[in-house]
């Protein structure tokens, strides 16, 4: 009786075994990639907003400061979405007939909110708090990216748990002087652009800004300049970089240390800002309750 399967089917059988394995692996990899893909995370997607608001125009073009609109970012968990009133402060005077602004004028006239679509949307069981991040040296751009270069707002990062944890397990890599929080172009210290930080000694019970002073201009070059650092034009696109502290609270004779890389600055700030340990920061109750 002839064989139903000839010898070549052995190879086919082996191949199909291998193929099955490969398909299973491929399926796993696909699913794994899928749940990290922009389709799920919405990373980089521009939502269809009622008004095509351009952060680029308002921040880079006009020089509005973040807190002009996001007023509660330093004092509350929510950064705050501006009320229609904030828009109308200017747009009652300029572009009063622009078609794009029709929803804003309608909101102002009817008292109905402008129905924005949330771009940075965390699941409801995750509790993120802006206030503590901003006060402890995490800048806007660390999470939101170069908002000043975004004509339409999109999500720069995935906002997935692995992304949160990557920083909570090693917060030093993203810390910056609190005076640079709103500096969209901040890139950390380097050999070309070192950062000098000085402290008035570690004190408990006072806000960080009153004990630590950082500057991007060499303080040894001109001691008196420290006092007027606030005014110094620096950074990108003519934005000013504020010093950490009101000049009068920091003695001029601080011991400034020069930092040329993020790691050493991160370590210094972790200590100065009393950043909790990675163990504490990555404990579940930090974000889930």
């Amino acid at each position: 009786m002839a064989q139903i399967f000839d010898r070549s089917s052995n190879a086919l059988a082996r191949m199909s075994l291998v193929l099955t394995g490969l398909i299973v692996i491929a399926l796993g990899v696909t699913l794994d990639q899928l749940q990290r893909s922009p389709w799920v995370t919405r990373q980089g997607q521009r939502a269809d907003q009622p008004v095509p608001f351009s952060h680029k125009h308002h921040v880079t073009g006009l020089g509005l400061q973040c807190q002009y609109c996001h007023t509660s970012v330093e004092k509350s968990g929510y950064a705050g979405i501006p009320p229609t009133k904030t828009c109308m402060n200017c747009h009652a005077q300029i572009w009063t007939n622009a078609g794009l602004l029709q929803p804003v004028r309608a909101s102002w006239a009817t008292g109905e909110s402008i129905p924005w679509i949330k771009v940075h949307d965390l699941p409801d069981f995750v509790y993120f708090n802006h206030e503590i991040h901003v006060n402890k040296g995490i800048g806007c751009s660390s999470c939101h990216g170069r908002v000043d270069l975004m004509p339409l707002m999109y999500e720069e990062n995935t906002l997935q748990m692995e992304w949160c944890l990557s920083c909570h397990r090693n917060p030093g890599k993203n810390l910056r002087p609190t005076g640079e929080i709103y500096n969209m172009a901040w890139q950390g210290p380097s050999q070309d652009k070192p950062v000098w930080c000085g402290t008035a000694g570690v004190k408990d019970g006072v806000p960080t800004a009153e004990t630590v002073s950082c500057t991007t201009a060499d303080p040894s070059a001109a001691g008196a300049q420290v006092a007027s650092l606030n005014m110094l034009p620096a950074g990108f696109n003519g934005q000013t970089t504020a010093s950490d502290a009101p000049a009068q609270t920091i003695p001029a004779s601080l011991n400034y240390v020069k930092f040329t890389d993020q790691e050493s600055l991160g370590n210094f700030l972790t200590q100065q800002y009393h950043i909790r340990t990675p163990q504490e920061l990555s404990s579940c109750e930090t974000c889930h309750r």
């Binding site: 009320p83 229609t84 109905e112 069981f125 408990d204 340990t277 109750e285």
Partner: protein
């Protein structure tokens, strides 16, 4: 399979004789939504451990042979019936983990839909777009995400509760006591906590109705003012106003002004639970109405004559009394511990807390009081020196001796639900012992218009019957439901030309009124009220009226010269003159900010009562005649909170019963009447009948039934509908407190309760520390053998301060090194809790506070019966000793946050883990619902969402939620988190300031609500913290700590202070039994 079949059979047989107590029950629509309608009585209820055949003799037999401290949780356990054994074989009582609900086609589709969604890719799908609706004009001082706190007060007939309300984006989300107020210092009670849900109750009346048609407020005002101008000529003849007890000085002032124009108009106050006895006694003794304020901080001996001053605000002055009582029992001050004697009818937490308790029928208390008065030398004509049985006489003699020895340092408190004679006796005793001015002072009344409400209501009804009433304005009262049955209020209402009703719900009265005006909740309106000490609080709105409700001020103002003033203007104008000189605006703002007018507390009057002989107390009925005692329900009060799911669901103190009332009686009476628990009986009293299920409670006097008011609502709302029976149906105007001569007949039907006292079972093998038989409740079995309850008398404590650690048969707590797991290190904070068993009075304030803070779902009666109740903290009651005269211990039980947590080690998905600060945290989004953790928890404090209990749909309930706590969905385990959201908020606030969290900066919700300060929370690494100091006491012990769980919550062992003379008798009794 066999078990299932049996279970199914049981369902069927139960269904046959299950009975509906309501002949007039409304038709249900079957679409249930959680907090609104789950409460409906479900006819197919699974039976928790019926102990049908238990007789008193059997129970006694169980108790004999047990020496000394033997604890039990329920009689089922004592009886050890097969049904009970069957129940405890399971992890959860009954069939909590199985689907036994009647499945409708619609419900089936709903569940299957949900399952399919779960089975699908719900974990992998993307979230839907979420909109953001920013303000158009944001209020200037609003920081979204930061709560704001406003001071106000909750007006209640017995005096206002001063409050500080947490408001998130101007939505009130938590109601707590005002910490700066001199009366309550930040404490609250269960009812006040639950008024939050009352505000967001979706069943609230939302419109003004005229003969059932929606009408405008202006139309009502037009009609009302037309009547008012017509009546001017006659001085208001025919205009009657019927309200609940008035607590607002402004309302009283408005009425005073209106009376100038309408001298013949009448204002009647009626609350079914009122202070008539106290006022009548005061009128008789002083010639005027006064309130008695008891100063327990100076009292060494306290006697309660049926005064339940430790279980809730139904007793006037509760918050201060409870705090002062507990203050003298913490053993921290140099002052000696106080001693409480309770002579009471219905068992209450006050009686169970007492060092000595004597159970008497309500009608016998007057005789006891008169005898006591005679014994201490007060004028007491009605006293019968040969009163009582020998043990009762012994009690009386010892008590009288103790009182005389502590003259001027003792106090006798009469019960609000006792007749005038008892109040007069208390006045006479306090006067004779020189307590007046020391432990009791007399002040003007909190009620600005004190009256004898029962008499007034009777007069009103006779005027109504006579056709003299043209307009009856009913303000926040529900007389059709609450009026004594013999007055036939409903019929009389038909003879009134126009009835206008202001009320929060479309209740029994609203449906019969021509006009119904939806009232504003107290969190929505301007008013004022006095706390029981007299301090005035301004009630300010926390939120714009959700349904444009109106207040009594706005209606009564129509009778005054400036009819269009708003509630705000009325209140403001009333106080503008009396806030002291200087800047009125400044003073007013200070009052609103502080929440009270400082220095407005009543000054004691220099009056002394003249009690010229007590009225002869009625001879107690012959043995065998049944007495019915009417009591306000500990939670729903007179029925006004019947639609509040939190209050319905939280098991009531003493009975551990939720969702129902019952005919409560002693075990002896139960067997004498040939009844078993759950039998439905007909109570016939003076020709009126009501169907009620029987329920026995330890310590109830024999030959008496207690019925709680407030149930059997016809039109109470979706939650209240179909629950319990209406005790008002047998309450007549001549006997509103208690009545004798009741006849009880058995109907042969049964009714199922939701009683939680035996819900938490233990069935570990002997090798694991259990007794292996599995037929005990966890607590009852182990309370004794494992030292869950530890207490000593004051003398024993003085001799052996370390008594809490020298419990026979209980192994010492193992050393921290005896574990195969490495120990945790806590460098900074280590959160812990200490609960003082001496201070806890079992009032349930903590439980309701926890519901509000942690978004806990209400599951309904049926699910409570099957053991699915979701509360994170419960108050366990342990009975000890004799069935008729038990002692009870209250133990708040919640997640112990073990350092060696058994739950953490068995979770397969890491959903419950240990935090660096020692919290045992629950990660909902990781939980897959294996329930291993609950299985492995020795304290049975974990709660599983067997069904979708959280209401995600009802709009008004969304406003109520705490935004800082996840609303849990189906299939997720949850438990106490030590109010982690508050810890994290404190950490963020202090991290910003680069400092450590100070002691007292984190307060848990249960701690905040506790009226006696029994719960203390804090950082145990900080040796100066209050909690660390408490834990350093020798009385500190951990429950089941010998399992090496190392609980972070520990208990401070109780110390009681019995009278040595009576205590000896107790011991003899105990040894005779053994």
């Amino acid at each position: 399979m066999k078990e299932n079949a049996e279970g199914a059979e049981k369902v069927d047989s139960r269904r046959d004789d299950s009975v509906d107590l309501h002949s007039q029950r409304l038709d249900n629509n079957s679409d249930m939504t959680n907090e609104t309608s789950n409460g409906r009585n479900n006819p197919v209820a699974i039976q928790p451990a019926a102990a049908k055949a238990l007789t008193l003799e059997q129970a006694r037999a169980k108790l004999t042979g047990k020496t000394g401290k033997k604890y039990w949780r329920s009689v089922d356990e004592l009886a050890d019936t097969p049904a009970f054994r069957e129940m405890v074989e399971r992890e959860f009582p009954n069939q909590a983990s199985e689907w036994l609900d009647p499945v409708s086609r619609r419900g089936f589709l709903k569940v299957m839909g949900a399952s399919l969604a779960l089975a699908g890719l719900s974990g992998c799908t993307k979230q839907p777009d979420e909109p953001i609706y920013p303000y158009v004009k944001q209020p200037e001082d609003l920081v979204l995400g930061r709560p704001v706190y406003f001071a106000t007060a909750f007006p209640f007939p017995t005096g206002a509760v001063p409050l500080l309300v947490k408001s998130d984006a101007y939505r009130p989300i938590k109601v707590d006591g005002n910490p700066e107020h001199p009366y309550n210092h930040g404490t609250t009670d269960a009812i006040t906590q639950a008024t939050l849900l009352d505000l967001y109750d979706p069943d609230r009346s939302q419109r003004i109705l005229h003969r059932g048609e929606v009408q405008e407020w202006a139309a009502f005002l037009a009609a009302f003012r037309a009547m008012a101008s017509d009546k001017k000529a006659s001085g208001g003849t025919g205009l009657y106003i019927l309200s609940g007890t008035v607590t607002s000085p402004t309302l009283a002032a408005q009425w005073k002004r209106a009376q100038q124009t309408y001298p013949n108009a009448k204002w009647i106050q009626w609350d079914p639970v009122n202070r008539d006895s106290a006022y009548a006694a005061s009128k008789a003794a002083f010639g005027d109405y006064y309130d008695a304020q008891y100063r327990l901080e100076g009292a060494d001996v306290i006697v309660s004559l049926d005064a339940d001053f430790l279980s809730g605000i139904a007793h006037p002055g509760f918050l201060k009394l409870a705090a002062d009582f507990a203050g003298r029992r913490k053993l921290t001050s140099s002052q000696e511990m106080n001693r409480l004697y309770a002579v009471e009818s219905t068992p209450t937490t006050t009686g169970y807390k007492a060092d000595h308790r004597l159970a008497l029928k309500a009608s016998e208390i007057a005789a006891f009081a008169a005898a006591l008065a005679a014994a201490v030398g007060a004028p007491a004509a009605g006293a019968n020196s040969t009163w009582g049985t020998a043990p009762q006489q012994k009690f009386l003699t010892a008590l009288a001796a103790d009182l005389k020895a502590n003259a001027g340092k003792c106090v006798v408190i009469p019960g609000e639900q006792q007749p005038v004679a008892v109040h007069l006796a208390a006045l006479a005793i306090n006067e004779a012992l020189g307590n007046a001015g020391k432990t009791v002072v007399y002040t003007e009344t909190v009620n600005p218009m004190p009256s004898i409400q029962g008499d007034d209501l009777r007069a009103l009804v006779s005027d109504m019957q006579a056709g003299k009433v043209d307009w009856l304005v009913i303000l926040d009262a529900n007389p059709v439901y609450t009026a004594p049955v013999d007055l036939h209020f409903e019929d009389a209402l038909g003879r009134v030309k126009t009835v206008a009703h202001l009320g929060s719900h479309l209740d029994e009265t609203a449906l019969l009124a021509e006009w119904h005006i939806n009232s504003a909740h107290y969190l929505e309106l301007w008013s004022d009220a006095r706390a029981y000490d007299g301090t005035v609080s301004v009630v300010q709105p926390m939120i714009d009226p959700l349904y444009d409700g109106k207040s009594a001020h706005e209606i009564i103002q129509s009778l005054v010269d400036l009819p269009n003033l708003s509630g705000y203007e009325v209140v403001r104008n009333n106080w503008s003159g009396s806030l002291g000189g200087g800047d009125t605006e400044q003073a007013w703002r200070k009052v609103l900010h502080d929440g009270f007018v400082s220095g407005s507390a009543f000054q004691p009057k220099t009056v002394s009562p003249k009690v010229n002989g007590l009225p002869v107390a009625p001879a107690p009925g012959e043995a065998g005649t049944l007495e019915v005692i009417f009591r306000p329900d500990p939670h729903v009060y007179d029925g006004r909170f019947a639609n509040v799911g939190w209050l319905q669901e939280v098991p009531k103190p003493v009975t551990s019963m939720s969702w129902d009332n019952a005919a409560l009686m002693s075990f002896k009476t139960l067997s004498r009447l040939g009844l078993a628990e759950q039998d439905v009986i007909t109570i016939e009293l003076n020709g009126n009948k009501v169907l009620a299920p029987a329920f026995a409670i330890p310590g109830h006097p024999d030959d008496a039934l207690t019925v709680y008011l407030g149930y059997g609502r016809r039109n109470g709302g979706r939650v209240a509908g179909g629950l319990g029976f209406n005790a008002y149906a047998i309450r007549t105007s001549s006997a509103t407190l208690f009545a004798s001569g009741a006849k009880v007949t058995k109907t042969g039907k049964t009714y199922e309760f939701a009683v939680t006292k035996s819900h938490y079972q233990d069935h570990r093998s002997p090798s694991a520390g259990g007794d292996g038989s599995g037929n005990h409740s966890l607590e009852g079995n182990e309370a004794f053998t494992r030292g869950i309850i530890r207490y000593a008398t004051l003398d024993e404590f003085k001799k052996e301060p370390n008594f809490a650690h020298e419990v026979a048969d209980v192994p010492e707590d193992p050393e921290p090194t005896t574990t195969m797991f490495s120990n945790w290190r806590y460098d900074k904070n280590a959160w812990g809790m200490a609960i003082d068993m001496n201070s806890c009075v079992g009032c349930n304030a903590c439980v309701v506070s926890c519901y509000a803070e942690n978004n806990i779902a209400v599951v309904g009666k049926h699910n409570t019966q099957t053991g699915r109740i979701m509360q994170w903290i419960r108050v366990d009651t342990y009975f000890e000793g004799d069935l008729d005269a038990p002692r009870a211990h209250f133990q708040p039980m919640t997640c112990q946050h073990c350092e060696n947590a058994p739950c953490e080690q068995v979770c397969p998905v890491g959903a419950t883990v240990h935090s660096p600060e020692g919290l045992n945290v629950m990660i909902y989004n990781r939980c897959v619902g294996t329930r291993y953790c609950s299985n492995n928890c020795p304290y049975k404090v974990r709660r599983f969402n067997f069904l979708l209990f959280s209401d995600y749909e009802t709009e008004s309930l969304k406003l109520m939620r705490n935004p800082d706590v996840t609303v849990r969905s189906r299939g997720v385990m949850e438990k106490c988190s030590y109010c982690m959201q508050r810890i994290v908020a404190a950490k963020i606030a202090t991290d910003k300031e680069n400092r450590e969290i100070r002691d007292g900066e984190v307060v848990t919700a249960c701690q905040q609500a506790c009226p006696t300060g029994a719960i203390v929370f804090g950082n145990i690494n900080d040796k100066e913290s209050r909690v660390a100091k408490l834990k350093a006491q020798q009385r500190n012990y951990g429950v089941l700590a010998d399992l090496n769980t190392r609980p972070r919550t520990t208990y401070i062992a109780g110390v009681i202070n019995p009278n040595p003379e009576l205590d000896a008798a107790r011991r003899e009794h105990a040894s005779a039994n053994s």
